[in-house]
Symmetry: C2
Subunit: 342 residues, 2 copies
């Protein structure tokens, strides 16, 4: 574009592609979908082909079912544009949009099915970063002097009860005002977040602050949408956890505080009862062991990871069940379903 000359090789390659395509002209409400499929079916990637096939079907059905008007279509175009334009290195409005539409929770449920005896997952949210420092166990992850100190003491095991040593654990939370570090324009580094490693007993512990409820960023297009829908932007008090360990299915989850005003009305649908904890109090023994004040706030939790193999088997089993229920003949390809054309 800079040179304002179209590449001659592209037109020649394009003419060659045309020769291999069925002619398409006079497309209407009734035949456009099959023609888009035909032209998209040139891709050699069977998964991409399946994804595009379903995407186009649902996009077109949405327009047909609603008789989408040109004005509404343009409003949608401008909305998506503004969602993209407000994104920065530290703000991900499309994740936020996915969150408030329940898609994030759904994708996590599909991709990380959990056997009954393991820890449930929940939404990642848009505030995870890769810049948290690696901290030693017992570190204080928050520098907020106004936060109520909170000791967090956890265990990490597999489903058979065996401790998991050496797992990488990302934790992140807001400050006492309900803002993540990245929401401050003038910030000099990560705060309210850390990367920890579980010890040989599968234990990990750190000092933090008691989480507070906070609104998701609602000064942008997603906030405008929530307002139009008469929805509130609040998330109940929670602390994020992400676990990674070779051989185990990655777990993205969070702990929520019991009796938060938004416990049953999370703007991003993330709360699961198994992840709701009572805020406890540090006893004398713990106060001494972890060098914190007796009677200060305490969160305790026993996390349980499933192995890669367990997760994959369950994922594939559920996928095949779902495909069967839809009457589709599918097979697995690189761990994901594609149409079985044989």
């Amino acid at each position: 574009m800079a040179a304002n000359k179209h590449d001659d090789s592209v037109i020649e390659a394009s003419k060659a592609i045309v020769a291999s395509l069925p002619p398409m002209k006079d497309l209407t409400t009734d035949n456009i979908t099959e023609n888009v499929h035909a032209i998209n079916s040139q891709t050699p990637d069977p998964r991409l082909k399946y994804l595009l096939d379903r995407l186009v079907v649902h996009l077109h059905e949405l327009a047909r079912e609603t008789r989408l008007s040109t004005d509404e279509w343009m409003a949608g175009i401008m909305f998506l544009t503004s969602v993209g334009q407000i994104c920065t290195d530290v703000r991900q409005e499309f994740i936020l949009l996915s969150d408030v539409l329940g898609l994030s929770l759904l994708v996590d449920s599909i991709d990380h099915p959990k056997p009954p005896n393991s820890t449930e997952g929940t939404v990642l949210g848009p505030f995870h970063t890769h810049e948290a420092p690696h901290s030693s166990l017992g570190s204080d992850i928050s520098s907020d002097p106004d936060g109520e100190p909170c000791l967090v003491v956890c265990t990490l095991k597999d489903v058979s009860g065996k401790p998991i040593e050496g797992a990488k654990i990302d934790v992140w939370e807001t400050d006492s005002k309900g803002f993540y570090d990245v929401q401050y324009k003038e910030r000099d580094g990560p705060d309210g977040r850390a990367v920890l490693t579980s010890d040989k007993n599968g234990d990990f512990f750190f000092k933090a602050i008691v989480p507070v409820p906070y609104p998701i960023p609602h000064d942008g297009p997603v906030g405008k949408l929530l307002k139009l829908l008469k929805r509130h932007p609040y998330r109940p008090s929670h602390m994020h956890f992400m676990f990674a360990k070779d051989g185990f299915d990655p777990l993205i989850t969070a702990l929520y505080l019991r009796n938060d005003p938004f416990e049953s009305s999370d703007a991003v649908f993330g709360v699961k009862d198994s992840l709701v904890v009572e805020l406890g109090k540090v006893n004398a023994e713990q106060a001494k062991k972890y060098d914190v004040k007796e009677g200060s706030a305490l969160i305790e939790y026993a996390f349980v990871l499933v192995t890669d193999q367990e997760a994959q088997e369950l994922r594939e089993k559920k996928a095949m069940e779902a495909m069967k229920a839809q009457g589709r003949k599918m097979k697995m390809w690189k761990g994901l379903p594609i149409p079985d054309l044989d």
Copy 2:
């Protein structure tokens, strides 16, 4: 956010909203959709409610049907973000995305149904601007010295054959290299575009250049998608027209040249046979009348607009037929369908 203090009134208003909502927790693959509907149903706008209902159903079904993985979801998030980020005042990548997925053509077909004896519509494309000068009939809209001069002579009538005087007609085309004016970084104003007015006989005419095939912008995310799908980015040679006149349904359309290499393989699905014209030659009489060279290129076309009322009646008739075929009990509200709950 700038002040880094959440507005206290928002949390109070949010608590009030919570009280009116059904509690939602422990959301799964199976129950997330109905819960998102419940929370979105607070909006007093019945059309927005219906649009969100269908959007969420299709978005969730897409994830369920494909067993969308977290990696694929994240690839989608990053793709949409890049589509939004490349947009500028003069580049609309979301319209381009809608175009290559066939959505633009579909929405135009739904929203602007045409009786058989009227001119068909087609895709707007991302290159219409509102900065074209109002030009008198016979003006030369292109300053490109390398373009092949082309006289365009058209009539504009209603379906009964009555001339339409005083219609506002936007016309736009690329230069001879296949670029619109806005695709040049250093440009000093509109070129290859004009706004004309039909005369008392419903006639309008202007000097332009013979359109050439060109690729849609393929240096961005949409181009990458086309490449993955083994699709070419070319559009056949065409000239855009947009008509506005009180009492008539707006018409967005284009004329295409017969025997273009991409006539049956438009990257954005826009070609309709009724809009394909043979490139003619200016005869002696025309040469004299329009002050152009005899034998130079000529495009002639007779455009026919439908009235607002005709269009609305046809739109509503087709909408009700489609709703009936889907088994939905609907009614019209401000000209668009919503569920009939009575």
